[in-house]
Symmetry: C2
Subunit: 316 residues, 2 copies
């Protein structure tokens, strides 16, 4: 039985979330990328099409995160047949929602399915990281959650350094992405290279508090702990238009806190009720509207499942 | 009904524990101080006696942590009667087992009981901190656990910044204190003033991992996470005789890890079985014996209860 076509989905993800800089990431149940992989007579990986990117992403498979991840899976499996990919972006680019990671993950999962699934999902991590590295650096904080789902504590770049944390049942986010780009490289460049020991102690305390709150399921302390970051947000704040106004509007509408998602400009307001989160979403959109900025907004919970195969077709 | 005498006990405690520098502390069920408080005709606080300190602690109540804490409680209660204290030390001094904190806590709890317990236990925190500050700085990482018991995450110096973490049922320590003094001030002085951002990320990741492991009750990952500290132990290691040899011996005897307790020189080996911990205790003693150093060693679990009143006597 040979598979002729496989389609995979990988969800959006949010990393950092305030005090969890470079160590925390979660998958979202709204927004994600789809990659369809088929055998091709052209050797290596070809990208047949990309939709939903307004023509901004490279079709060159060696420069496209899905292409690189797909190639890496073929290499891992020692397969030298050609594969063609069709990529459907369901996420804004360079927005802090793990767009490059979702493409890499969907590419790897689709090709693995096309090959008859020789690899476990966690075994695809290295291939996904290779794809992600082309755009955002070799880091698992988006790739990990997009691949595996849930909320992850990330202590390294191997499967055994990703730890699933409990997902509080009522946790829901109002997520808003203003129409400005914040390249990850620029967001990295503004960070301090060193921090004081006292600051380190503060960050460790609140990172610990985030994990404690996830285990106890207490959303309000969770949000307060996430917001307690005194290192990353102060350094990046100027890259995020209207952050203070958004935080004030979100809290006035019932959110417990607001943090930058990934390297921004997406902001995530932390809520414990879907109806409240929807009001917060509207309030956040109003802030950008008033500032004359376009934005994309959604309400999302944590995606427990992570990347998965949507469909496979058997060779006839 | 007037109380004429009250006796209180406060347990030993271990702070820091590797990656939990300045944010983690726990109370121990082995070792602690007892303070007996009685009314006296001398105004203010008098220290009638100290036993178990080899004459090293000051009888001047304004320089003694129990005396200062006792005075602070009298001041809080607006009582100007004289109080006399008898202090029984059950802990080695300047050893990293919270000796100064235990005296302060026992002093505060004893005087509160003598007054008829006008204050809740957590309301005594400020008085205990005042006592501790005279010796070790204004920090709750020993005083908090000694007062309240259990394992605490400490984000500040007020009762609402102390968070009880779960205590894994099988968690037990082999604890060894070599006969060398490491003054807290010296142990502070050797710490770096700044760390790199990358180091901060590492420390936050493993502090988060410690809390996760406490919640899941997994002792081996807990020990590995505690040991992952790359900031404090490297800086202080030279003050701790035979640390590497102790770690190797502890692990060979069945411990999952070994960390410095507080500012040292006490070392704590993390185990999940009391019989194993006892073997580890013997192995640690052998290391110091071989090096020609005296030492004090014990096996201890977490003290869930914290400081408490041992006895009160009603005025006849």
């Amino acid at each position: 039985m040979l598979i002729s076509r496989a389609e995979a989905y990988a969800p959006a993800s949010m990393a950092n979330l305030g005090v969890g800089f470079d160590i925390l990431g979660l998958a979202l149940d709204s927004g994600g990328d789809t990659v369809c992989a088929e055998w091709s007579d052209t050797p290596g990986v070809t990208i047949a099409s990309i939709t939903g990117d307004d023509g901004r992403l490279p079709l060159d498979p060696t420069k496209n995160t899905a292409g690189i991840a797909a190639l890496a899976v073929l290499r891992m499996a020692d397969v030298d047949r050609g594969v063609s990919l069709r990529i459907t972006k369901g996420l804004p680019l360079a927005s802090g929602l793990g767009s490059s990671a979702a493409s890499a993950v969907a590419g790897a999962v689709a090709v693995n399915a096309l090959l008859g699934s020789p690899f476990q999902r966690s075994e695809l991590l290295a291939a996904c990281l290779e794809g992600e590295a082309a755009v955002s650096g070799y880091h698992a904080d988006n790739v990990g959650p997009s691949l595996l789902g849930g909320i992850l504590l990330i202590t390294g770049v191997t499967p055994d350094s990703l730890f699933a944390l409990p997902v509080p049942e009522r946790l829901v986010f109002a997520i808003v992405t203003p129409g400005v780009a914040v390249p990850t490289a620029e967001a990295r460049a503004v960070l301090p290279q060193t921090v004081s020991l006292k600051t380190m102690v503060h960050q460790t305390a609140y990172a610990a508090r985030v994990v404690d709150a996830l285990h106890t399921g207490a959303i309000r302390p969770l949000a307060a702990a996430m917001e307690a970051d005194i290192v990353v947000e102060p350094a990046r704040k100027h890259l995020m238009p209207r952050l203070d106004a958004c935080r004030a509007a979100a809290k006035a509408a019932g959110a417990y806190g607001l943090v930058i998602s990934g390297a921004g400009p997406t902001l995530a307001a932390i809520c414990d009720d879907r109806a409240v989160a929807d009001r917060v979403r509207v309030a956040l959109m109003a802030v950008y509207d008033e500032a004359g900025l376009t934005c994309d907004a959604r309400v999302a919970s944590v995606h427990g499942r992570g990347a998965h195969v949507l469909s496979t077709q058997i060779e006839g």
